[in-house]
C-alpha cells in the first residue's frame, strides 16, 4: 500500500500537481507517471504543490532532475511551491534552489507563469 499520491488540478494554462505523503524509491514512479502524463497532454507549465509532502529522498528529487531540462526545452518549467520546512531542507541540501524556482506559495508559483513574469 503506497502512502504517496499525486492529485491533478489546473489554473488556466498551469497544471498543478498536489503531492501527498512520502516520496521515496518505492513511490517515485508515481510522480514520474504524473509528469509523463503532463507531457502527453502537452502541459509544460507545471506547479508542484508540496504542502502535504511529508518526506522526499533522492529518488524523488531525481524525478525532477530527469524531466526539468526537457520541459524547459519545450518552453515550460516546473515551479515548486509550499514545501514543508523539513522537506525544503532536503532540496536545499543538494543545491536545488540553484536549479529550480522554489517559492513559498502556490499563488506565487502560478504567478511566475504569467506573461509579464515569464
Amino acid at each position: 500500500m503506497s502512502n504517496f499520491s499525486v492529485g491533478f488540478r489546473s489554473s488556466g494554462h498551469v497544471q498543478i500537481l498536489d503531492l501527498k505523503g512520502e516520496l521515496d524509491a518505492h513511490t517515485a514512479s508515481e510522480l514520474e507517471a504524473a509528469i509523463q502524463k503532463c507531457q502527453v497532454n502537452r502541459q509544460v507549465h507545471i506547479v508542484i504543490n508540496g504542502s502535504s509532502l511529508m518526506y522526499i529522498s533522492s529518488a524523488g528529487l531525481g524525478v525532477f532532475m530527469a524531466y526539468i531540462e526537457e520541459i524547459r526545452e519545450n518552453g515550460g518549467d516546473i515551479k515548486i511551491a509550499a514545501l514543508q520546512p523539513k522537506v525544503y531542507n532536503v532540496f536545499d541540501l543538494l543545491g536545488f534552489p540553484m536549479l529550480f524556482d522554489i517559492v513559498d506559495s502556490e499563488v506565487d508559483a502560478i504567478g511566475k507563469f504569467e506573461p509579464s513574469n515569464a
Partner: protein, 139 residues
Amino acid sequence: MVVDTHTLTIPSSTSFLEEVREFVTTHATNAGFSENAVEQMKMAVDEACTNVIEHSYQGKSGQPIDISISSYPDKLMVTIRDKGLKFDREAYKEPDLLLYAKSKKSGGFGVHIMRKLMDSVEYKNAGGFNECCMTKNRS
C-alpha cells in the same frame, strides 16, 4: 560502551523503506536525538538501503538487508549489512547538480546525501558481507 542496540532485517524491496524509516525514527528518538537529527538519520538510512537494493542486489528482491542501530553515550551508530555486490568506492564521484540536470539523469545522489547528513560514513567488505557504517554524534 553500547547503551542499547536494535536490529531489523528487511527483504531487498523498496516497499520496505517506509518500515526502515519508522524503525530509525523510533530508536533515534528514543535515544534522545532532536527531531532535525532524527530526520537526517532517517533519510541517510533510507538512501543506504535504496543503494543496497538497486546496486548491491541489482534490483533482485527477497535478499536480506540487516539494519542495526546502536546508541552510545556520545553518538548513534547505524550499520547496514548485505550480501550483494561490493560497493565500488573508486568508481564513486561526487555528483555535479547542473551536469546531472543537463544529462537528464535521475540518480546517484544517495551517497552524497548520506555524507552530508551523517558525521561519518564508512564502507567495509568482510566475510562475504558489505557493511555501511554511519555515525551521528550527539551535539
